[in-house]
Structures are given as structure tokens and as C-alpha cells.
Amino acid sequence: MNLALRQTGALGRRALIRTMRVPQAWVPSLFFPLMLMAIFSGSFAQAPGMIPGFPEVAGFLDFIIAGTILQAVLIAGTSGGAAFAADIEGGFFDRLVSSPASRLALIGGRITANIVIGVAFAAFFITVAMIFGARISGGVPGLLLTFVFTVFLAAAAGGLGVTLALRSGSAEAAQGAFPLFFALMFFSSAFFPRETMDGWFKTVADLNPVSYVVEGMRVPIAGTGDASDALLGLVIVIGLAAISIVATLRSLDRRLKGDL
């Protein structure tokens, strides 16, 4: 078990090193969310006080931090999946499989790296937002809870990326998950509250589990909702991570059996 952990750590480290050395692999995950954060918080600066039903927050910037972290973590999940698929295409994955390394470490390394990247991104966005005047309403405990959310969110997104990589074996196909992530994110309450939505869009956002995760995350960051919202979000994000990792393990099993 100790060895499996060491192997997961070593493969996670390698995934991190590789990500850092290929700026294309991480710059977009920072750049696009940062841009959206700037555009939305600029465009809707007055929205919280003016739009009836908008949750009570200190500012739109405070409101949008959770959605920004979500977006970065989802993009990082896609990149991670693409990198994993590139390992399969290039044969690096075969090197791992033909070694006696723990089968769990084969996927654990990548997912661990995604979690580390996710937490680093969350810290980055929170820092930037704070520089521009945002406050974390939950203080230090709130910050820690935000990181807990980020860990499970990154595990869920990372697992989904790796699952697609294992199933397709192609970096292009794994990259193709991007629109799916995008839809999950925009048809949710990641950037606007469900209170201001209506019609079919609201129905979709109501059904989208991402809405509850983001809303849960906003509790410690922006002080919206209450403890039950935070708990619901946490339960859902842990559930998503569990489903995602089970799917990853099953895909790994199928690939190792040669069914894929």
C-alpha cells in the first residue's frame, strides 16, 4: 500500500512537471476563467443590488469566484484527460502497464495532479479577486471549505477526463469533452443566480448538479445561502467525484483487458 502511494506520488509529480513544462496545457485554464471573471464582474458590477431576487453579496466579484474556480477546474480536467490520452497514444502508458506498478497508481497519479492544480488555481483566483476588493465571507474556515470543494471538483473533472482518455485512446477525442464541460458550466448557476433565471433555462439549471455544487461553494466564499446549501453542494460534489472515479476504474479495467 505504501508502495502504491509512492507510485501515485511519483506519477502525480511527473504529471505536474509535464503540465508545467507545456504552457499550452495550463495557460488557457487560467486565462479564460480570469477573462470571464473580469468581464462579468465589470459588466454586472451593479447587478447584485439592482436585480430583484439576486442573492445578497458584497459585490458581483465575490459572487463569481466560485464559478471561476469551477471553470478553471473543468478546463484543467480536459487538459489532464488530453495529456493522459497523449500518454496512451505515445506509448508511455504501455511502459507503465508493463511495469509492476500498482494499477491504481496508473490513474491515481493523474487525478492527484489535477487536484493539486485545481487547488493552486483556486488559490490564484481567490488572491486576484481579493486584490480587486473581494472578501472571503467565511474567513479562514471558509477558505478551507472552498479548497475541500475544489479537491472533489478536481477529482470529478480529472476522473472524467481520464475516463474519456481511456475509452477513446485519443487526445483529440479527450479534448472533445470540452463542449460538454462548457455546457455543464453555462447551463448552471455558475455565473448568474438561479433566482434571476426563467423558463427552460431555469429548468435545465435546476436539473444540473453543477448548480448545487457552485451554490454550495458560494456559501463560504460570498456568504450566500446557508449551511444546508453548503452541505447539499458538498454531498453532490463528493458524489460526482465518486461516480467519476468508479467510471475511471472501470474504463481502466476494460482497457487493460484489451476491450478498448
Binding site: L3, A10, L11, G91, F92, D94, S99, P100, A101
Partner: protein, 319 residues
């Protein structure tokens, strides 16, 4: 426990669409041998090596490596084998030393052990100076040498090399051959290699299996294989006025065939040992041979005899 043999029994592997990449392959490689698997592209070599290295399960048949079943005891097999697969699958963004360290952990070596063995291997494959450079900057030969070092970090009993020198220049190729030979000689590591180069199989392998369309069509030492399909050919060159005398003399040993306008060739039934007799007879008949050439049948001739096709086309473009 120190069994380092490779055995396969009736291996079959089918892919989607009823493609039989491997069609009933049985083989037996005793410990300590360098076994060459020779065949053109698409003959099924890589599929077999993937089965033997636990990357692919066979559709039918069984195989053991180091005494362990490749399907049921895959993990035990993985502990015993070192693998360097085609495409030299090494991450171009990592340095040689980083990859060696990672490979050590994957095989469960301690950090200390990995470092010690890693440095020794880097020295051995002459990559000490390049160890901290990203692999992306390496030449083809350097990559293959690193790949070999990676496959050796845990001192495997059986080493699998899938087309280790494809695409390499002749000098890099010879360097790698020497390294493989030395390893085999010094540690007794069994080496199972696939190749599409006749010369590689001939020079490096103690035993060669020729594979075509998923089946082994011939199996033996390079010398035996060549002997099996024919005798060596002796060609002589004489001055034109002695041609008739030479023909009469040589006819006692075989059927002389003209070779150019002042040369003759015969197949020597007793092999190379028969050369002396022919030369003596020519001398007694007063014929002076100005040129003498003995040519063995090549593995390509063996391939031709067994499959009706030549392998040469690949050889020319690749070397």
C-alpha cells in the same frame, strides 16, 4: 525462481473484424539466449511481444515468461521483465534522469537503489552528459539507449526489445547491438527481440524465428536455417582461355553455371568444407583462379524459401 525462459503455446490473437494478427504461435526460448523474431511489418511481431509483456491478452493459447503465466500471473511476469517497445515511448518533456527515477519507483526500488543503478546505467549507455536534458532534444540513438537503460533499472531476467534499432543509422545500431550482447554475456539476461532487419537477426541472435502473417515459418540458429535451404555457392573467375578446362574440372563437384563471361559458380554439396577440394582439383588441372568467392545463403533466401517473398524491400528503405 531464476527461470528466465519464455514459452508460448498455440498463441492466437484476433482483432475486431476477424483479423488474425497471431495465428497459432508456439515457441520456446531457454534462459540466457538472444532470441530474434524476424519478420516484415505487419507480420504479428509486435502483437506477440505485447502478449508476452502482459499488455494484451491472447484470444487463445497460453504463454509463460520466467515460469509465470502472462495472463494469470501477470504481476509476477511484470517483475521479471524489462520492456523497450517500438516508438521508444519516452516522454519528450522529461529529462533522462527524471524518467529513470520514475521507472525505479514503478518497479518498487528504493530511492537510493534507483539513484545508484540509474547513474551506473547512464554511464553504461553513455548518457551521463545528457541526463539532465529533456528527452525531446535527444537523437534517435540516444533515445533508444535511454529506453534500454529504463528497461534495465530493475535488473530484469528477461529483456523484451521491439525493433530496437528501427530508423537508426548504422553506427548507432552497432552501438546498441554491442550493449545488448554485453548485457547478455555479463548477466545472462534472456533477450527477446523483434526485428525487420535480416542483418540484426543474423548478427545478434543465437536463435531466430521467422514470422510471416502471424505464423512462425522457420525456427533455428541462423546457420542451421541457412544450411537447411541450400549449400553455399562457390564462384571462381579464370582467364577466358582456361574457361573450358575449369568447367570440366568443376563438373566433377556439381553443375557449373556461368557467372559473367569468365566466371563459373557451383553449389558445394559438402558446404564450405568442399572449397579446398575444388581448388586443389583446379590447381592439378593447371587452371589459375584469379578470383574466388564463397557466398552463404542469406536469411533473406530462407525467408524467400519459406514464404515465396523477399523481405529486402524494407531493408533497403530502412538502412
Amino acid at each position: 525462481m531464476n527461470d528466465a525462459s519464455v514459452e508460448a503455446n498455440g498463441l492466437v490473437r484476433e482483432f475486431k473484424g476477424d483479423v488474425r494478427a497471431v495465428d497459432g504461435v508456439s515457441l520456446s526460448v531457454p534462459a540466457g539466449q538472444i532470441y530474434g523474431f524476424l519478420g516484415p511489418n505487419g507480420a504479428g511481431k509486435s502483437t506477440i511481444i505485447r502478449i508476452l509483456t502482459t499488455l494484451l491478452s491472447p484470444t487463445a493459447g497460453s504463454a509463460t515468461v520466467g515460469g509465470h503465466d502472462v495472463v494469470k500471473e501477470a504481476d509476477a511476469v511484470r517483475h521479471k521483465i524489462g520492456v523497450a517497445l517500438q516508438d521508444a515511448a519516452i516522454d519528450p518533456f522529461m529529462t533522462g534522469r527524471e524518467l529513470l527515477r520514475l521507472q525505479g519507483v514503478l518497479h518498487g526500488l528504493s530511492r537510493n537503489e534507483t539513484r545508484k543503478r540509474g547513474e551506473r546505467l547512464l554511464e553504461r549507455v553513455d548518457l551521463v552528459d545528457a541526463a539532465d536534458r529533456r528527452v525531446g532534444t535527444y537523437s534517435g540513438g540516444m533515445r533508444r539507449r535511454l529506453d534500454l537503460a529504463l528497461a534495465l533499472i530493475h535488473e530484469p531476467q528477461v529483456l523484451f526489445l521491439d525493433e530496437p534499432t528501427t530508423g537508426l543509422d548504422p553506427i548507432s545500431r552497432h552501438t546498441l547491438w554491442n550493449e545488448v550482447r554485453r548485457l547478455n554475456r555479463e548477466t545472462g539476461t534472456t533477450v527477446f527481440l523483434t526485428t525487420q532487419y535480416l542483418e540484426e537477426a543474423d548478427e545478434l541472435a543465437n536463435r531466430v524465428a521467422i514470422i510471416a502473417q502471424g505464423r512462425i515459418v522457420a525456427d533455428g540458429t541462423p546457420t542451421d536455417l541457412k544450411a537447411e535451404i541450400g549449400q553455399p555457392t562457390l564462384s571462381i573467375t579464370v582467364s577466358r582461355d582456361q574457361l573450358d578446362d575449369a568447367r570440366t574440372t568443376m563438373a566433377r563437384f556439381g553443375a557449373p553455371a556461368p557467372n559473367g563471361d569468365s566466371g563459373l559458380s557451383i553449389q558445394l554439396p559438402d558446404g564450405a568444407a568442399g572449397v579446398a577440394g575444388v581448388v586443389r582439383a583446379l590447381d592439378e588441372a593447371g587452371v589459375t583462379a584469379t578470383g574466388l568467392d564463397l557466398s552463404e545463403p542469406s536469411l533473406d533466401d530462407v525467408f524467400m524459401a519459406k514464404t515465396g517473398k523477399r523481405m529486402e524491400a524494407d531493408e533497403v528503405t530502412a538502412s
